[in-house]
Amino acid sequence: MKQSAANLSGFDREILNILQSRYPLVSRPYAAIAQEVGLTEEEVMKRVATLKESGLVRRIGGIFDSQKMGFSSTLVALKVQEDKTDAVAQAVSAYPGVTHNYQRAHEFNVWFTLVTRSEEELQKTLNEIMDLDGVVKLRNLPALNLFKIGVNFDMSEA
């Protein structure tokens, strides 16, 4: 079933807001959501199933903090020769620790995030990427401080 923000019902929006920020930590989370929004458990689960099928909800699970688990992470900006952008980006994406990788309209045209088990592995990976054919510059931009994290969209306005 095709679904976009435009034809989401009020119930769907309420459910999405709860799913995003406070999926209940109780034995029957859908019953808890149902009670809050005023539907039955079965109706909530049916709506969640449709939201998943539509692709709007990728997965429902845990969102972990890599730093707190002892992993190293960073954001990297690359300047890549125009004609080698895709090839370099694909080589970068092949690293399992690369979670996000985008082409952007700027002198630094490839931006990716990297998570590794250690600082040594992070440096080693960056050195390997620096050596890829077409990479002109690499700027390592690890977080020094974090003022906000959490992709929460208020679906009531979507």
Partner: protein
């Protein structure tokens, strides 16, 4: 916190998708070989220690009607970073606000991920943030291609 082999097993499973059924935690607990109560206790402990940010979902922005997003770099004087960061964080259109190092060819030290319905939206939000913070040197970086977008598999 010390992450044991059992924790790795649980974390690995929680990084996947919870089954869509009335008792999802009971199902996961059974897979991992513990009780539902033990699993919920573990999840609460992970939340308390901070290794787990939250249980829930990540939406696909494009399908949520937030069709436009941009990374925005801000050139903030070092002594103003602590003051400006929290102001930027208050904007609901900004999902992430980070302080990062600079280079001679990259002077932008604060980063915000901005989300909106259109490019004009994003420009408007950036202009509002600029007005509120007094930071006038900023760069909106639009993504022109998505090469990869996944969740990290830690264990």
């Amino acid at each position: 916190m010390q992450i044991t082999d059992l924790d790795k097993k649980i974390i690995s499973r929680l990084q996947g998708d919870l089954p869509l059924q009335p008792n999802p935690y009971a199902a996961v607990a059974e897979e991992v070989g513990i009780t539902e109560e033990e699993l919920l206790q573990k999840i609460n402990a992970y939340l308390k220690s901070g290794i787990l940010r939250r249980m829930g979902t990540i939406l696909r922005h494009h399908k949520a009607g937030f069709n436009a997003n941009a990374m925005c770099g801000w050139n903030v004087p070092a002594e103003k970073v602590e003051e400006v960061g929290p102001i930027m964080a208050q904007f609901k259109e900004a999902s992430h606000v980070y302080h990062r190092p600079t280079y001679p060819d990259w002077p932008y030290n604060l980063f915000t991920m901005l989300h909106g319905k259109s490019k004009e939206d994003l420009e408007e939000v950036a202009a509002q943030i600029s007005k509120e913070t007094g930071i006038t040197d900023y760069k909106l970086l639009y993504s022109t291609k998505e090469y990869k977008k996944t969740s990290m598999k830690y264990f």
